[in-house]
Subunit: 131 residues, 2 copies
């Protein structure tokens, strides 16, 4: 497979593009993360979401510690080629490192951010033991 | 209403935060755009999505030219407070300046970006005449 599809993307000055993970079927927005060229290429090749961790400055194979991998069903691109959507099956039903089902677990309500979704598993239980 | 909820957000070095617009009901991802503090405050105050246009370097009241405004139903925040989701009703059923229903109208298929959704209205018809 040629890399022409990668050349069409508008990565930012840091070589990154925002990637929104959406759960197939439910349509729930799970997380917004970032990919560089290598992460996206590996995502397509492996069928599992791979991001670039801006804090750790390295490839982040989603689920590498938690087991909560994201199986990629579809990848979509926007009009300006500077944002992508990754439709995924979320293994384990937990996308967020906080143990919530997804990262967008708060909503704005009367001028306050309110948690509207529960912690499904305590982070200590997710990351405390090696698989 | 105090601005404490705004102070919790992690705007980037340019004072921006990515905002994903999702259609209420269908769950379709319409667009990924950017907001600064002022855009988000006005979004909440007015109930209509207001973004920061990085190309035009000014507030972009979505639909100001096309009439395709986004009526905000809910605003969600992620775990790191550096990305938001705006659940909206898309007036006119067209979110994208290309005339597609949404910006994510392409998908990756066998190493190529393929349009999977039609142009609903030609841009010339959307922007050609003043309302």
């Amino acid at each position: 497979m040629s890399d022409a599809w990668l050349d069409e993307l508008m990565f930012d000055a840091d070589g990154l593009i925002p990637a929104v993970a959406q759960e197939t079927g439910t349509g729930k927005l799970l997380t917004l993360a970032w990919m560089n060229r290598q992460a996206l290429a590996e995502t397509v090749r492996s069928g599992r979401a791979v991001y670039w961790s801006r804090s750790r400055k390295r490839l982040w194979r989603k689920g590498e510690e938690s087991g909560h991998v994201q199986l990629v069903k579809q990848i979509r691109l926007d009009c300006d080629a500077d944002a992508i959507v990754v439709e995924v099956e979320q293994v384990g039903g937990i996308a967020c490192h906080t143990g919530h089902g997804r990262c967008f677990f708060r909503k704005l309500e009367d001028g306050r951010w309110v948690e509207t979704e529960p912690v499904l598993k305590e982070p200590g239980q997710i990351y405390g033991t090696k698989q």
